[in-house]
Amino acid sequence: MPVVLAVTEQRDGVLRKVSLEVLTAARRLADQLGATVDAAVCGSAAVSGAETLGRFGADRVLSAMHPDFVRYHPDGEAATIAAAARSAVAVVFAATATGRDLAPRVAARLGVGLATDVTEFGAEAGKVVVTRPVYAGKALLRLRLDGSPAVLSIRPNTVQPAEAVRPGAAVTTPVPEFTARVTVTGIKAPAVAALDVAEAPIVVSGGRGLKGPENFKLLEDLAAALGSAAVGASRAVVDAGWRDHGAQVGQTGKTVSPSLYIAVGISGAIQHLAGMRTARTIVAINRDKDAPIFKVADYGIVGDLFEVVPRLAAEIRRLRGEML
């Protein structure tokens, strides 16, 4: 039976949530291709969370353990995944910082093309067909992947993890000989461990309308009220030094596809829209009723953010309180 390989990610020995999205995508493709799913896990010791992979559609969990895999190991993992992928019909990555680094290494080693940042996918006549945003989301490109295997990466948050219980049989997979050409020597974590905008299911972003860095506490409070939310920013405020570049959404920042994006005091310049227009639901809060952000927003409130945002946080807290 043909195999679809799902390439999972872990950090510090813990499976990353995006892995379940990758696995769900792989399962869906496998069902259409009449294939089984292998989920590959690279690590230096047992990865916590790997035991849930069966629940999300893995027929087998291939665990590739190597002492050097304590952190992401570009060359070693590329060699391992390429070896595991050689007989696969499709290989699915996440379009994360790691996946964007790893997927082209694997595709090149396999000698096939690669479709990155895919937002829709399926099988037609036994081939993988994908859609991916290009030109900063201003157009959608439909591609057929004729390579064997088809190699693709899925944009985070575009697939909802879905349960599809399979055996999830644990199998040890060998790590082939590899040459370590680069070494990840460490990870600097930010002072406060915050959800990354590229992966958060809800993003609350602020722009120049916030008037100063201190006022971002309004957005942090709104994010806390919503739960599982990250605070993003426009380039104007990142360039002004109010927020870190890692929070920037847009053309030269991150591309986000959360289920809810709330733009506060952001005008909606084309380069900002490039990073967030694929969000499922967009809310805009701006005092200028003609701001371009209202053209892409599903819901808008015209008003002073300093009045609207605290009220919104309070209302959401009240609602969530009722739901508990």
Binding site: L114, L195, E199, H245, V283
Partner: protein, 249 residues
């Protein structure tokens, strides 16, 4: 220090995109083209490294149509020594582009080959890494901070919720991210000098590849949104819509 930069000619990001008659590419009439913004960080870094080394050569490579000569001239005006245009139409299959670039870069004796993190037209995020794999060179992607000391390379790259430090040694391949530097603007003198710098034209043919374009389309219009109301009094209605209609909270 010998450094090559791969530079792509792309539509300006503010350009309105229209679909061409073939339904598979954009209508290029009236589109303004610019050097890929991420590649400008690569260009600047190459010039800085050569200046710091005190000697060497900077070469800009572009794979594209004849109009890309103009893009190469921009790099020459910034201070690059020479340019190479691999004449071919870039395809959707980044691996084919990578193979053509790698074939020419292979024997260039470069200590460093720099790329942009991604091309803002195709968003492929792949050509630099693939070139590195084909040349069997170390590769660090999305570099936002770089130190080269002798042959030791130390780079930082942003990952979700942190910054990774990665080390390698020359010769190496890097892809450049915003934050690495502030690209210089060509000076008038540079623009004049660029006209006399060597620009080699080399026809290449790309393989058919394994990625077939089925179609290019404009994204579906978002269904028209609504202004829920004005000021804080509109908040309860917004919350209700988010919960009941959109189901997102």
């Amino acid at each position: 220090m010998r450094i090559a930069v791969c530079l792509k000619r792309v539509p300006d990001t503010t350009t309105k995109i229209l679909i061409g008659a073939d339904g598979k590419s954009i209508d290029e009439s009236g589109v303004k083209f610019v050097p890929n913004p991420y590649d400008e960080y690569a260009l600047e870094e190459a010039l800085k490294l050569k200046e710091a080394a005190g000697s060497g050569e900077t070469v800009v490579y572009c794979l594209g149509g004849d109009a890309a000569q103009e893009t190469i001239r921009t790099a020459l005006a910034m201070g690059f020594d020479r340019g190479v245009l691999l004449q071919a139409a870039p395809t959707a299959d980044g691996f084919e582009v990578a193979k053509a670039l790698a074939a020419d870069l292979k024997d260039g004796g470069f200590d460093l080959i720099l790329f942009g993190k991604l091309a803002v037209d195709d968003y492929n995020h792949q050509v630099g890494v693939m070139v590195a794999e084909l040349l069997e060179r170390p590769c660090i992607t999305a570099v936002s901070h770089l130190v080269v000391a002798g042959t030791a390379v130390t780079a930082e790259r942003e990952i979700e919720g942190g910054i990774e430090t990665v080390t390698a040694s020359l010769p190496a391949v890097l892809s450049c991210e915003k934050g690495l530097n502030t690209p210089r603007l060509p000076s008038l003198k540079g623009i004049m000098a660029a006209k006399k710098k060597p620009l080699e034209l080399k026809p290449v043919s790309l393989g058919a590849g394994s990625v077939t374009v089925l179609g290019l389309a404009l994204p579906p219009e978002r269904k028209p949104g609504q202004i829920v109301g004005e000021g804080p009094d509109a908040v309860p209605a917004l919350v209700r819509l988010l919960r009941e209609d959109a189901g997102v909270i």
